[in-house]
């Protein structure tokens, strides 16, 4: 296992100090963990728990107060390691006066790529993150989600071995989130190692192989997602629809074996599943609208030209889309209770 480690962190401590050298924040306290080659590693934790700080320390943007970091076999302050790393910052800190093409070309140049290779990569990446329609627009005109996408594209410009993603899904709509997750999984399939941090539990659960949970700068949990989540003393049955007689029979059987029945229920889909299904149907059957029973809205006859996702998000609140929209716009409010 040790040889497989792409990142080794030992007793990493970071104290932010003010201008006079006085201690302000203990952002990270004696953190130790390894990230192995080819896995998707998730750093999970509420806001301010030190996830971003960890990333910046890994990249040498910050200097550790104490402890050691080895990343791709090099020190964090070594510049050459950056040749093999892609980094998506927390917010896409890009130059807003450049357009998408210029942005990718610029970062390509920083990897000393020749012009032809840059053109190829730029074109491929812009298409793969779905920004082909806006490639000549300056980034200051981009929406937050679009900025995230171009941010991901710039992180992948050098075809890196190790990808560090800081809150990759923040600011993305559910579709974009799904795309982002798919892309992260694809990166793993290509043999890359991915480290991502997030406070959105669902994202982490869906894609990560292993996670670490940070709280106030300290490591609280570390392990494989499936193992951490598996409840060893609960068994779940999933069957086709059963009528009440069968359920009663099953209860009998359980009683005979001295087992306790906790609940019998119809499973609910996640909101994400519902949303994605709705959008998919809208694409297949354009023009269909959801109307509340009581009264059709006055503008119901208009809007045939609207794009599927827009019409989906216009459906009334009780179907839940607006809540999910708000959630993805303001990630900070979606933090787990701590």
């Amino acid at each position: 296992m040790e040889n497989d480690a792409v990142i080794q962190i030992r007793n990493l401590t970071k104290i932010y100090r003010d201008f006079w050298g006085r201690k302000k924040v203990l952002a990270l306290n004696s953190l130790s963990l390894d990230v192995n080659k080819g896995e998707i590693f998730g750093l999970l934790g509420p806001n301010g728990s030190g996830k971003t700080t960890t990333m910046k320390l890994l990249l040498g943007l910050l200097f550790p107060t104490d402890g050691k970091i080895s990343i791709l076999g090099k020190e964090a302050s070594n510049v050459e390691k950056n040749e093999r790393i892609g980094y998506l910052p927390e917010e896409s800190y890009l130059y807003r006066f450049l357009n998408a093409e210029e942005t990718l070309d610029f970062y390509g140049q920083l990897f000393d790529m020749p012009a032809s290779q840059r053109r190829e990569q730029t074109d491929r990446l812009i298409k793969s993150v779905g920004l082909d329609f806006a490639r000549r627009r300056q980034l200051k005109e981009y929406s937050k989600g679009m900025t995230r996408r171009i941010g991901l594209a710039q992180a992948l410009i050098n075809d890196p071995e190790l990808v560090l993603l800081d809150e990759p899904t923040s600011g993305l709509d559910p579709l974009g989130t799904r795309d982002m997750k798919d892309m992260i999984l694809k990166l793993r399939d290509e043999g890359k190692t991915v480290v991502m941090c997030s406070h959105l539990l669902a994202d982490v659960q869906d894609v990560c192989d292993r996670i670490a949970i940070l709280y106030e700068g300290e490591l609280k949990q570390l392990g494989r997602v499936d193992e951490l989540l598996k409840e060893q003393d609960v068994t779940q049955l999933l069957t086709s629809r059963l009528d009440d007689a069968v359920v009663r029979d099953i209860e009998e059987v359980l009683k005979k074996h001295n087992a306790q029945l906790k609940s019998i229920d119809h499973p609910t889909n996640s909101l994400e599943d519902l949303f994605l299904k709705t959008v998919k149907e809208s694409v297949e059957r354009p023009g269909r609208r959801f109307l509340p029973d009581e009264a059709a809205q006055p503008d119901a006859s208009e809007g045939n030209g609207q794009s599927p996702s827009e019409s989906a998000s216009q459906t009334p609140a009780e179907s839940g889309e607006q809540t999910s929209q708000a959630e993805s716009e303001k990630p900070d409010e979606a933090q787990p209770a701590s």
Binding site: K56, Y87, Y93, L94, D112
Partner: protein
């Protein structure tokens, strides 16, 4: 051939520079070793050496493509952020200024001077603040917006960031300067009433000596002084020779060779007259040039001429000279170079022919005028001078912005500018002790006790302590004076405005050397400050 006003000595300058930078490096190294020992104990020096090694690697591995990318980024940023608004201001200023400048004077040469120096000053003072603020704000803004985070997580060396910024901002200033220079040139051509005054004269200056009124009979070398009569105005820099006596002003032009004398030599004079009596008011004072052989004493008088003030007096000396030889009472022909130049030295004696009248002159009042260059050539050189000054400002500003925020960087750069120009001569006088009244503390003491600057200070413990502290302050000033560039070197507009070409050795070379000299230490300072800090805005 090199007869510039004050030729610049390159070798001593370079040696001085090496000594200064070397001792600075030594001090820095010493401080760094002590600091590393204090902060890390025994392993400190090793870490320090590691840091220096890393620095060397970062400079050795500089990739031109990355530097290019970063400079292009800087240029794009400046252009897209509308830095060029300054053009509008410039144009407006020009439109208004034209009204006021027109009636300034009716002497064509002064008009040229007014227009040319106006344009060059306007360009300098419009571009300088813009470029300075751009360069000071670039990096700090990049750090504040954290866009630099994305850049430094690519395999970019910090040295490349510093260089990229410097090259980028210099390119921006080049662009602005080219456009403004072009507009200014066209404006001058259109405004100046008599374009024949737009020339770049190429002068060769000689050395000036005087003889007094008793000067030796035929061989006037006898008694030579480097001063002559002062006519009573203590600010006057010219010395006067008395008419009708043996008082002469003697110019020596050394290092001449035959190539300089095609078929004629043109001498330009600009003397001042001082009359002790009215004399003939309808004409100027009479003067005469004599060409002399310094060895044989052969003296060839030229035609007398009247001294016209405020215009150029041109004298054409043909290669073959005819003159009336008093000894043989006959006409003789001599060759200007073969017969009159001795050991490469041409000697010209000026005499005043009106008795009891005086003619005043200083070193630049008589010079050999080589074929003129175009006004454009001189103007371009003045623009180049502005460019060099902008470049050095960019270099200082960028390296300052590596360790302080934008406003502080502006302040720092601006104080360099102030200390490097108007304050400089004052500072020099303080340091050399030429300025009376002593150092700052002593000056305060004198102010409070109503002592004038020349009276002795009473000897006491207090005054001695004061003098001691003053000495430390003066030493600090001495260091500052050696650290801060002399921006006087970059001022070439006086040459152009007065119709001269910008001399290479006296003006172009020093400014070029100063710029290059600042580049290296500044890049180093910028690099190490960037490399040693966390790029987190505080």
């Amino acid at each position: 051939m090199d007869f510039d006003p004050e030729p610049y000595e390159l070798l001593p300058a370079v040696l001085h520079y090496i000594a200064a930078v070397g001792s600075l490096l030594f001090v820095v190294a010493l401080v760094a070793v002590i600091w590393s020992l204090a902060s890390r104990g025994r392993s400190g020096p090793a870490a320090l050496i590691e840091g220096i090694k890393k620095g060397c690697r970062d400079f050795a591995q500089i990739s031109p493509r990355r530097v290019w990318a970063l400079s292009m980024l800087t240029i794009r940023e400046a252009l897209r952020r509308k830095a060029l608004m300054v053009f509008v201001v410039f144009a407006v200023l020009f439109m208004f200024a034209g009204w006021f400048l027109q009636q300034a004077t009716d002497r064509p040469d002064l008009q040229v001077e007014v227009y040319v120096s106006f344009v060059l000053k306007a360009i300098t003072w419009l571009v300088l603040p813009v470029v300075m603020i751009l360069a000071c704000w670039g990096l700090p803004e990049d750090i504040r917006a954290r866009s630099l985070h994305t850049v430094v997580t690519k395999p970019v060396r910090r040295s490349e960031i510093v260089l990229g910024r410097i090259i980028g901002f210099i390119s921006v200033s080049t662009l602005i300067l080219l456009i403004m220079g072009g507009v200014g040139y066209v404006w001058i051509l259109r405004q100046v009433p008599d374009p024949s005054y737009l020339v770049s004269r190429v002068p060769i200056y000689g050395k000036l000596r005087y003889t007094n009124r008793l000067g030796d009979e035929r061989n006037a070398i006898g008694l030579e002084y480097d001063y002559s009569i002062n006519v009573g105005d203590i600010w006057e820099f010219r010395n006067y020779i008395e008419g009708g006596t043996k008082s002469r002003a003697l110019w020596y032009f050394e290092g001449m060779d035959a190539d300089d004398f095609d078929d004629k030599l043109i001498i330009e004079t600009g003397f001042e007259s001082f009359r002790t009596h009215k004399g003939d008011m309808d004409r100027g004072l009479l003067a005469r040039l004599n060409i002399m052989n310094a060895e044989t004493g052969l003296q060839v008088p030229l035609q007398p001429f009247t001294v016209e003030e405020y215009t150029q007096n041109l004298h054409e000396i043909p290669r073959k000279l005819q003159y009336f030889d008093e000894d043989t009472q006959d006409f003789r022909e001599v060759d200007l170079f073969e017969d009159l130049v001795y050991d490469g030295t041409l000697k010209i004696a000026v005499e005043c022919l009106d008795a009891n009248q005086y003619i005043g002159m200083a070193r630049p009042d008589l010079f050999i005028r080589l074929p003129d260059r175009s006004f454009f050539a001189g103007y371009s050189k003045a623009i180049l001078g502005i460019w060099l000054m902008l470049s050095i400002i960019v270099v200082i500003a960028v390296s300052a912005s590596c360790f302080v925020k934008g406003p502080v960087a502006v302040l720092l750069t601006f104080s360099f500018l102030i200390l490097g120009q108007p304050f400089r001569s004052f500072m020099e006088k303080m340091v050399t002790g030429e300025q009376e009244g002593g150092g700052p503390l002593e000056a305060w003491y004198r102010l409070i006790h109503h002592l004038n600057t020349t009276s002795e200070l009473p000897a006491s413990l207090l005054t001695n302590a004061m003098k001691f502290i003053d000495q430390i302050l003066l030493n600090f000033l001495w260091v500052m004076q050696n650290l801060i560039p002399n921006f006087e070197h970059f001022r070439m507009s006086p040459y152009v405005a007065n119709g001269f070409d910008v001399p290479w050795s006296a003006a172009m070379l020093p400014s070029l050397v100063v710029t290059i000299a600042y580049l290296l230490p500044c890049v180093l300072i910028g690099y190490f400050s960037l490399a040693m800090r966390e790029l987190e805005s505080k």
